[in-house]
């Protein structure tokens, strides 16, 4: 039931946020922050309980909830929580609060509806992280999409129509491919056992022919790569990130991109580990191409939000590289990178949005010398630029380096190429600082510095970045069992005597009893 609460709190709070508009302009954001804070606390409570919590099920998940929904088609309301989803839910709720605060002054019209959509989208995202029935997963996958579309088309900037269409078409096309693959998987299960099932555990036990596994994996891969995004499916992202209102951009970059990464880890790799060896080099290659290509384009941008958007694609390349490296270290790096990137781009987009709000332009050519005008904004941007260029001591460094350390064993050449991304990251991050905050003053208007609330928020993100950069154990120990099983499952599939599901099940039950050596 706790898991349903996590999803339902934001969704049920959504209409109240809408109605709250009639009381005051500040009621809807306050309701949103309240609901999300409850979620954060709930997730923290579950985190604190650790592996000892076990509500129902057979020890497969730390917390599980299973209610039948459409038994005829083998669809059930099946939620499960493990270390990975727990961390991502915490991130989601936290970034949600950040996005709300970033919209405090940015959103002037229809404040209630805005926050209603934010809450609905976040509820969908949390559902995505919890659903372990593939039909239910797809349901939440679509739930988060529609409010995001509305956020962009109603509150976006000048080119919002183009951007929101592009966003919708790309993600919807990806979803379609995904849906076909999910349904095929369910029918294959029927063929094998005589019973339709969309359940994760059932589908895990399915043995696929290598031909079939390859095609289905490709379909899952495409579905998730669009969201991640990775080239060549990334072109919706810069348009969307630049045109969406700041709050929506923070959600898109900080959280929605992570659903793609989550899909890779949760579904693509374990379900089709037969095809891993064939597709992994391609996926990793795409990751490296993403890192370098997007970094190159980031260097070419003059629009600050587009620059951050391309840097974001570049960072997601590390996730793709690490997820398919097949080593536990790289996978742990992927988790770290997901969290770190959520925090760093969340912060960067908040600051870029603040700049845009003050200067009504995103062109860095019109800025310059702003350090003396807005020292707080400048200092914090410097901090997040450092995070984004992978400065050790901050969380992004841990993510990137664990991925690179972990992947070197399997793909040394790719890792060396990916490392070049570090030099490029320095070029675009410092170039951004130079063009906006350093140099001669171009625009002598006096503008207010970051408000106390926004400053406090980015400061909290910065502290989290430092904390995770110096003490990543907090996250790594939570997700270690999950990643261990993923790797074991992959190894087991290479060895057909041992079924994947069996190894997953056995190791999970060990986890839930908390007896890992």
């Amino acid at each position: 039931m706790t898991l349903w609460l996590l999803i339902l709190i934001p969704i049920l709070a959504a209409p109240f946020a809408w109605m709250g508009q009639q009381w005051s302009r500040h009621t809807p954001p306050l309701i949103a922050i309240g609901a999300l804070s409850v979620d954060v606390l709930l997730a923290l409570f579950l985190w604190n309980q650790g592996p000892s919590v076990q509500i129902s099920g057979h020890g497969f998940w730390l917390v599980e909830s299973h209610v039948s929904w459409i038994p005829r088609w083998g669809i059930s309301l099946h939620l499960g929580l493990d270390g990975l989803s727990l961390i991502l839910i915490l991130l989601t709720a936290f970034i949600g609060v950040v996005a709300t605060i970033a919209s405090w002054t940015d959103i002037q019209s229809r404040v209630g509806l805005f926050h209603c959509n934010v809450l609905l989208a976040l509820g969908g995202v949390i559902g995505v992280f919890l659903a372990i029935d593939l039909f239910l997963f797809f349901f939440f996958w679509e739930v988060m999409l529609v409010p995001m579309y509305l956020l962009i088309i109603i509150w976006g900037h000048a080119q919002r129509r183009h951007a929101s269409f592009k966003f919708f078409l790309f993600t919807q096309a990806g979803s379609l491919v995904l849906l076909v693959a999910i349904v095929t998987l369910a029918f294959l299960h029927q063929e094998a056992t005589g019973r339709l099932s969309f359940d994760y555990a059932d589908l895990m036990e399915l043995t696929l022919s290598s031909e079939m596994a390859r095609w289905l994996m490709l379909a899952f891969l495409i579905g998730f790569l669009v969201k991640l995004p990775a080239p060549p499916f990334h072109t919706w992202l810069p348009d969307t990130y630049a045109e969406a209102p700041t709050g929506a951009t923070i959600i898109l970059a900080g959280i929605l991109a992570k659903t793609g990464a989550y899909g890779l880890l949760r579904f693509t790799i374990p379900l089709f580990s037969e095809a891993m060896s064939e597709l992994a080099p391609i996926a990793m290659g795409l990751g490296v191409v993403g890192i370098l290509y997007a970094a190159l384009l980031a260097c070419a941008q003059t629009d600050i939000k587009r620059l951050v958007a391309y840097s974001s694609i570049s960072h997601m390349g590390f996730i793709l590289l690490g997820a398919f490296a097949g080593t536990e270290l790289a996978m742990q790096g992927v988790v770290m990178q997901m969290v770190a990137h959520g925090l760093s781009t969340g912060g960067l987009f908040l600051l870029a949005g603040a700049l845009e709000e003050r200067y009504h332009t995103r062109e860095m050519g019109h800025m310059g010398g702003l350090w003396s005008v807005m020292p707080r904004l400048a200092t914090m941007t410097l901090f997040f630029a450092c995070a984004s260029l992978g400065l050790p001591g901050l969380a992004n460094f841990i993510g990137e380096f664990l991925v690179l350390f972990g992947s070197y064993a399997t793909q040394p050449i790719m890792v060396i190429l990916a490392s070049l991304g570090m030099v490029m990251a320095a070029i675009y991050s410092l170039g951004m600082m130079q063009r906006t905050f350093f140099g001669p003053v171009r625009d002598s208007r006096m503008t207010p510095d970051l408000s106390n609330m926004a400053f406090g928020t980015v400061l909290v993100i910065a502290v989290l970045q430092i904390w995770l950069g110096l003490y990543p154990k907090a996250i790594l120990t939570t997700t270690k069992p999950v990643m261990e099983q993923l790797v074991q499952a992959a190894v087991a599939s290479a060895n057909p005597i041992h079924s994947r599901a069996e190894s997953l099940l056995s190791s999970r039950s060990v986890t839930s009893q908390g007896t890992i050596p």
Binding site: P232, A300, Q301, F405, Y408, G439, L476
Partner: protein, 629 residues
């Protein structure tokens, strides 16, 4: 007291945090107290730790302290842990000691700058990062310090951010050194993949066990580490950032050149000496790179017009000597030159700063002159620094350290005679460019009227450093002169002793030393002949212009900037000129296709019932026909 080790990097870090978070609420006096105090406290802690360390020293060669497990997952165990041994203690002492003097000097030098708190915050962070680098027990923590140093140099070089050129110089420094850092990172990936270990000591032990001397992997890793070191230490081919780094305030240059940053590469190679010993070819590369850099930089220093650029090239050249020493396996000699160089280079920069300060930020040496009488303190300290750098025999520290290096080059089994000749010629050039500076700046007639001598906070560091520049050399004196081996005995607990060719006796050492001494004095004499106002040659030459192409080439640091501009910067800029995503074209084309299709289809919607009826009929017939078949 050893337990206080962790405080040494943490104290400057605390200073940074205080200044960064509430610097704008503190008065200038308080800022100076926090900024200098934190580094001073670190220096005092170093003294306490050192005292405790020496109580048990030769028996216990190192002390380790782990604060917490940084990363501990999936086979990777890396701690936030410190490692103190003879080598790192030497580094820490220099960084905190000299660092403190530079901070003290800055308190007065920067007194009227707007960014007083920001300046001290960056400086403190710089010291903290460098201390982390040298105290790190594992390579990942070392890398943290390594990158931190790079960041701080970026921030301080671009400290006066309103000038776009300074920003360019800062970015150049960061990006060029980051190329080296990336190579170092790849080296770490290889080491970790091979040994699943990143502890500096353990990984080297494992490497010595697993890799035979000269094996491919050892060569590759050593080469990658060398590229990292070359980037930070401004040696060929990544030396281009250092001359431009003069954009920062003068105390920053002193800190970068004497106590932090450029010495990091020397430290890295000394720290990883077991690894480099496995790759003799790479060691040869180090020696040759060092030699070439020291000659190129010394020749460039001869023709610079900016007092700070002369000193910048001189640093490259002196670090070249250290690399040369490392390359021939004279580890301790390299570290000794590091020690003496820290003293005299900090002194030179601070004295130069005092000149610049009193001339209202005039840096062109052709607009200076005659300052000897107006700025006696500055003159005498600068003179001592220049003498130490040139290696004036017997009384200066530079003589003893340079002599040790050259003697090692002469007598090392892995060196060549021509390397020695090159290095001795470098010593001649050193004397020449050092005293060119002295004669141009302090002799002759005054071209710019100086203000006053610096105050106490600037004078005290100058005097202390001048004293050190004269005396630290006495820690190690050659066989022929007193035979003091305090320094080499001390470092022998961390670094292997230098191998010497067999059959070399004291008389050949004396002859070698005589040659070095003559070279240095010849350089100084030549400088007096060429540049001392009133000398014959100077008078004859003064009317001539200096835009001969060879001079221009030397002034530009042998044209590396132009070469890199052609080969790297311009292609990169043309690559990033177009901000449009080419991959988007395909999707645009798809969208255009869909649009034209729907435009074409919409033509069928005419509004004529007859047309609709006809299409329905034809459609039905076609369908029926298909079914019938």
């Amino acid at each position: 007291m050893l337990k206080l080790l962790w405080l040494i990097p943490v104290l400057p870090l605390t200073g940074f945090l205080v200044l960064a978070l509430c610097g704008d609420r503190l008065s200038r006096r308080q800022i100076a107290w926090v900024g200098c105090g934190s580094v001073g406290a670190a220096a005092v802690t170093t003294a306490l730790v050192a005292a405790d360390f020496f109580r048990t020293f030769p028996d216990r060669e190192f002390y380790q302290q782990t604060l917490w497990n940084w990363i501990n997952t999936s086979g990777m165990t890396v701690g936030i842990s410190w490692y103190l041994d003879a080598l790192s203690l030497l580094m820490v002492a220099v960084i905190t000691g000299i660092g403190f003097l530079i901070h003290l000097y800055s308190a007065e030098y920067m007194a009227h700058d707007d960014g007083y708190a920001r300046f001290f915050a960056y400086m403190n962070l710089f010291v903290a990062a460098m201390l982390t680098l040298v105290l790190a027990d594992n390579l990942l923590l070392l890398y943290l310090g390594w990158e931190g140093v790079g960041l701080c140099s970026y921030l301080l070089i671009g400290f006066w951010y309103r000038e776009p050129e300074y920003g360019t110089a800062a970015q150049k420094a960061f990006i060029v050194t980051r190329i080296g850092d990336t190579a170092l990172a790849i080296g770490l990936f290889i080491l970790f993949t091979q040994f699943t270990n990143l502890s500096i000591q353990q990984v080297q032990n494992l490497a010595v066990e697993a890799w035979p001397v000269g094996s491919n992997l050892a060569m590759i890793v050593a080469l990658l580490f060398l590229i990292g070191a070359v980037g930070k230490s401004a040696q060929l081919p990544l030396q281009v950032w250092l001359p431009d780094a003069m954009a920062g305030p003068t105390p920053v240059s002193a800190l970068i050149h004497a106590a932090t940053m450029v010495t990091a590469g020397v430290y890295l190679i000394a720290r990883m000496h077991h690894l480099f010993a496995l790759a003799p070819m790479v060691q040869e590369v180090i020696a040759v790179l060092g030699l070439v850099t020291l000659l190129l930089a010394a020749s460039s220093a001869l023709v610079q017009q900016d007092i700070k650029r002369v000193l910048a090239y001189s640093t490259m050249s002196q670090i070249g000597y250290m690399f040369l020493a490392l390359g021939v396996g004279a580890w301790s000699a390299a570290m000794f030159h590091f020690l003496t160089h820290s003293c005299f280079k900090a002194l030179l920069f601070l004295a130069a700063g005092s000149v610049i300060h009193s001339l209202h930020h005039e840096q062109n040496i052709f607009k200076m002159g005659g300052l000897r009488r107006h700025l006696p303190w500055t003159f005498w300290t600068f003179l001592i620094g220049a003498a130490a750098m040139s290696g004036v025999p017997l009384i200066t520290s530079g003589f003893y350290s340079k002599d040790w290096i050259l003697w090692s080059v002469w007598s090392s089994p892995i060196s060549h005679r021509w390397i020695w000749f090159g290095a001795v010629f470098g010593a001649l050039l050193t004397g020449l460019y050092s005293f060119r500076l002295i004669f141009r700046v302090f002799f002759g007639e005054a071209r710019t009227q100086p203000a006053h001598e610096p105050g106490l906070a600037m004078r005290v560091p100058l005097v202390i450093l001048a004293f050190l520049a004269l005396t630290v050399g006495f820690l190690e004196m050659p066989h022929t002169l007193g035979n003091v081996t305090l320094f080499s005995d001390y470092l022998s607990h961390a670094l292997p002793t230098t191998e010497l060719l067999t059959g070399i006796d004291e008389s050949s050492e004396a002859r070698e030393q005589l040659a070095v001494t003559v070279a240095a004095l010849l350089g100084i004499g030549l400088a007096a002949f060429l540049f001392l106002p009133g000398s014959l040659f100077e008078a004859r030459r003064s009317g001539q212009s200096t835009d001969h192409p060879s001079v221009t080439l030397l002034q530009g640091g042998w044209g590396f900037d132009r070469l890199y501009d052609r080969v790297f910067v311009r292609p990169w800029l043309s690559l990033t000129r177009n901000s449009h995503d080419r991959l988007d074209r395909g999707f645009d084309w798809l969208a255009a296709c869909a649009e034209s299709c729907h435009g074409w289809m919409s033509h069928t919607q005419t509004g004529h019932v007859r047309w609709y009826a006809a299409t329905v009929a034809v459609g039905t017939l076609v369908l029926l026909g298909l079914f019938a078949m």
